[in-house]
Symmetry: D2
Subunit: 233 residues, 4 copies
């Protein structure tokens, strides 16, 4: 059997930014498909890919968590198996976050969930403000928070929702998770979340952010692609 | 092959209330499991059952929709198959509605989705008001709207969200869908939605509604059971 | 609450052949998609549709089964809910039956499963014989057997596998389930399974059966479409 | 954006044996659950865990495969994304392999599949022979073969099915995949598959193998736990 001393319950690395798309894996195929204008019309596949990306990202994040050894009784003996030591809360930003969250929940099926909504209120000149509307969350005290949003553009809505979530109780560590981030958004997170127990996990980092805060090449509007074109307020 | 004249594109019945639990089927087993206090601790199974209930209810509702015959080219010939004629919008009430909606989306994978939140703001005397917070929806004009909420207690939040959704454009028909309804809630719907293009589909109708608007025997709080205990505001 | 005397534990009808495609529902959309040569290249969707068809057919079959009332303890009271009285075995014919079976298992998650293989051994003149190779099955005595195969062409392999399955213990009732059947195959089943506790459930009945036993218009080879072109033996 | 020169299309390591259970991740939680005699009675969860283990193992194997850069057109620009260069065949051993295979297919949805059956024919003295019955497979020439079987006990049935599969065409590389292996089985594979393009991936390695070829502590009979107790032949 595996040697239990192999389990060194330490953080794997001190890095703040983890880009899963940098490593070769099937993960990038799902990123390719959700970006692809010719594949996007298949909403079932688009949502399925967001789910799969969520599952694989949750799994990679799980390598960073702490485990303890449990004695498990099998029909034939006792096995020692490491099981999760932390309580996890999967928070997601509505509405685009729902399939991404679903994928994470497929991995962490015992986790609690939080839903939160923030949207861009556009002014006539094209500028916008982030508005917070809805929040349903469990107690976060000393838990592991994974806050997911498919697109990390400026980083402003991630910051706002994070601050709203942790206003009262503080999680032990927060994993920010995005499918596609802009380079600018990643820099914003690095600057605004430093000295905090926060790391960020993304599937790809794109160079450009337009004046209207669209990531280029990006994929367009993840919410519209998953659920149909939303009417403006 | 089936005779195409068999397809009479008419409403199957004129009934406003459809209780799927009245017919014998495996559907009731899922209802039994989500009610059962001994099974509820398995969140994976609780959500899976809400999904399955959503899928089967969507399927039963689909029998009430209109179809047209398409000529489909197979590798060996041409087949005439009825395909959906309507555009469907699956609206759900947050957060408990998410797994129920997921089940419906598994059936209607080409549908658009709407998310809406309404919550009970409790006063100190135990009374409460329904508050609307978040709404993301596509254009509903002349579409089929399926508005889902796992629990139909007083019917007030269903009415409020319905009115918010249809304020600007009117759907052709609305299917209200609940897993468990109180008898009082069903009466409320019958009274308040009559003369409208609305029908209601439920999985079970329970007799009692407490002063705090809990359905008895019901199942408790569907949102807490699916996603963990929510903190009060 | 629903009146328990409503539950009349009797067979719904005496019919032997049930064609689900005759009723209007979203079910036919899935049939349309698996037939469609332009959609078939998406293997994920092809298998997903076979699964959905399996789930909906299992659900319709479940309306024909027997239930008993269970007292279920909810957090707030006792609910009376009908639960399945029968033990079910989901048998399927390899390899095309695997996604169809998966869909049925999504509905009857407590069922046992059986896998059986029969194939057409082609002679040089185009004729063929059905050969039985593999069988893994639980005890079937007095259980409900649902034997599934996506395509019912001549009916010969369904008959052979059925006879192999029930050789030692007899199930109480057998549901033969096929996605697409030929009219000739249905006649064969009616003739060869009469006087037995057997009914047949199909998603569509096609007129033609070629000399090579292909259903027309059909959909081609379900196994190849789900899993890739199989090499001949 | 990530630097394309980061993609070094080389084998990550030269190791023949990969034990995913050695690293800390949620993967081990699923291993714990399928081993646990108190959890095994939930067949839905047992199969779901085999699926999840299959998905995560397929993902880890995907890190070992080759990719090429594709230009993908998004609604807003062109993205360069690595996509899979290899053709994959997911072969599994019946019947226990079906949920494990399903999990892998959820990751590699464009893969072809092969199904093969081998069973232990027990003699009266408790000894047994591996018998091959059923095989349905696509052309394997120059493809990537992933051959999966939940339990790797002696290694004899893995070897037999491998040899049957590659008799005519040779795959470029073969990944043998097992959920739980015995230390003896792993040694057998190392000895019998060396000098071949074969590597082995497992979720746990257990110390003991009984005279009846049961892995201890193991989990019991994976096929029976997923599909119900199989009758002996």
């Amino acid at each position: 059997m595996f040697d239990l001393t192999d389990y060194k319950f330490v953080k794997k690395d001190g890095k703040m930014v983890h880009n899963l798309g940098e490593a070769n894996s099937i993960f990038n195929q799902y990123i390719a498909e959700i970006r692809d204008v010719h594949v996007q019309s298949d909403m079932l596949r688009f949502r399925r890919n967001l789910e799969r990306i969520g599952s694989l990202m949750a799994y990679e994040i799980s390598k960073d968590l702490k485990y303890k050894i449990d004695n498990v009784q099998t029909p034939l003996g006792i096995a020692q198996v490491p099981v999760l030591q932390s309580n996890i809360v999967l928070a997601t930003i509505l509405r685009a976050g729902v399939p991404f969250h679903q994928g994470m929940l497929n991995i962490f099926d015992k986790a609690e969930s939080a839903f939160i909504s923030a949207y861009r209120k556009h002014n006539k000149d094209g500028s916008f403000k982030i508005k917070l509307e809805y929040m349903a969350k469990p107690d976060l005290k000393d838990k592991i928070l994974i806050l997911s949003d498919p697109m990390l553009a400026t980083g402003a809505s991630m910051k706002l929702t994070y601050e709203a979530l942790i206003e009262e109780e503080k999680p032990k560590h927060t994993y920010l998770a995005a499918v596609i981030a802009s380079a600018e958004g990643v820099e914003y997170v690095k600057k605004n979340f430093s000295k905090k127990n926060v790391s960020i996990w993304v599937g790809a980092i794109d160079d450009e952010l337009t004046a209207q805060a669209y990531i280029v090449p990006g994929l367009g509007d993840a919410g519209d692609l998953a659920y149909g074109k939303k009417e403006d307020k």
